[in-house]
Amino acid sequence: MQPGHNRLWIRQRELGVFPDLTVEYRPEQCLHCENPPCVPVCPTGASYQTRDGLVLVRAERCIACAACPYDARFMNPAGYVDKCTFCEHRIARGEDPACVETCPTGCRVFSDLDDPKSPLHAWLAEAERVDVLRPEMGTAPKLLYLNTPSKRGLAAHESDVES
């Protein structure tokens, strides 16, 4: 990666009103949407979705235009659009993505959404709230946020969610 470009970033926000204050640290990246808006608008087929649901970019086909509602894509100085791949190469070897393996607090889990025995489903069962970013866009992101202070759960009305 070139300096100044990030496939993953942390958004830090102060939330609430004194004395009920909190600071949220929220990791953000490509959400590997189930309905990725970047794929159909790609004019060369460079952006595509794998059978496993990853959203990837074929650099050799990319003509460097970007369209992501989450600002998760950036222009690689080599002349193509770059983004998080969920460490496709590691997943192929049966390993976790690097962000999951290196997270010092173990706040991330990566597993199969379709497998009810996966650790993710245990986390989901214990969570008070589950959220995705900008659910109103219908992109169905596959990065789920559990108990995020700025969110109120997918069932809550949009106006109740603090942005």
């Binding site: 159909p40 608008v41 002349g79």
Partner: protein
């Protein structure tokens, strides 16, 4: 307060050359469309304008290639090796290529001119429409409202007619210049209304528009002058039309590419 460790990909990704492309593609599509209309009625009169339109397309294609970060990887060839009908840019690439071929045939006087003109009318309409479609399809940039689907073709045709006024008998193009200027002016007036009446993102975009409303006033005034002068003094009217369309299109492209979501969603 919001701060970041690392940053989302929210920075501006287009530069001044891209703004020139958005003017050139209007000129290319609009002159090609006018050539098609002329060719359907009087094919023998369309040959000279066909060369001009072909020149504008070649210039636009060169500009697109030169300003692309992918220019030396030649990945643009995939535009023609892929089938992506949901992509505006894919349609634009085929529209430009088809228009260039039809214009060459018309300019050389080869084959059935009226048939080529019919095909050219369709392909050049695609060229006029695809920039606004490509922008409006980007849900991350709410200033690129769906009204651009109408505003960009109208202002594109206006730019082309402003040039055609100098290339063809003025009494022929001047009335259409007035119509295109009035249509562009009406759509420009609707633009803030479209933003204001949209969802939360559109309202945030309206706040951004309010910051730069003077640019729209300037562009609107130039379009009004173009419409007012079109029949009286087509020369100055054409200058006002090009300036007004360039100001408005450039502002929409440049201001619209900045993310409004840096502060949260």
């Amino acid at each position: 307060m919001t701060t970041f460790y690392g940053l989302p990909g929210a920075e501006a990704f287009w530069h001044g050359t891209t703004l020139v492309h958005f003017l050139l593609v209007a000129l290319a599509g609009g002159t090609a469309f006018y050539t098609a209309v002329l060719g359907l009625r009087r094919p023998d009169k369309a040959r000279r304008l066909a060369w001009w339109a072909l020149g504008f397309i070649v210039l636009d294609l060169f500009m697109l290639w030169a300003e692309s970060p992918a220019r030396f990887r030649f990945s643009h060839v995939w535009l023609f090796l892929s089938f992506e009908p949901a992509s505006a840019i894919w349609w634009g690439a085929w529209g430009l290529a088809t228009s260039a071929l039809m214009l060459l045939l018309l300019a050389l006087g080869l084959g059935p001119a009226r048939f080529w003109s019919g095909v050219l009318a369709l392909s050049s309409a695609v060229v006029l429409a695809y920039p606004g479609y490509a922008l409006a399809a980007n849900a991350a940039r709410p200033l690129w409202d769906h009204l651009l689907l109408a505003l960009f073709p109208a202002s594109g045709l206006l730019v082309a007619l402003a040039v055609v006024v100098w290339l063809r008998p003025r009494e022929e193009a001047a009335p259409w210049l007035q119509v295109a200027a009035l249509a562009s002016l009406g759509l420009t007036a609707l633009y803030p209304v479209a933003l204001m009446s949209g969802g939360a993102d559109a309202r945030a975009a309206f706040a951004l528009w309010l910051r730069d409303w003077g640019v729209f006033l300037l562009g609107g005034a130039l379009l009004f002058l173009a419409a007012f002068l079109a029949r009286r003094a087509p020369g100055p009217a054409s200058l006002c039309a090009v300036a007004g369309a360039f100001v408005l299109r450039s502002w929409v492209v440049e201001a619209g590419q900045h993310s409004l979501f840096m502060h949260g969603f």
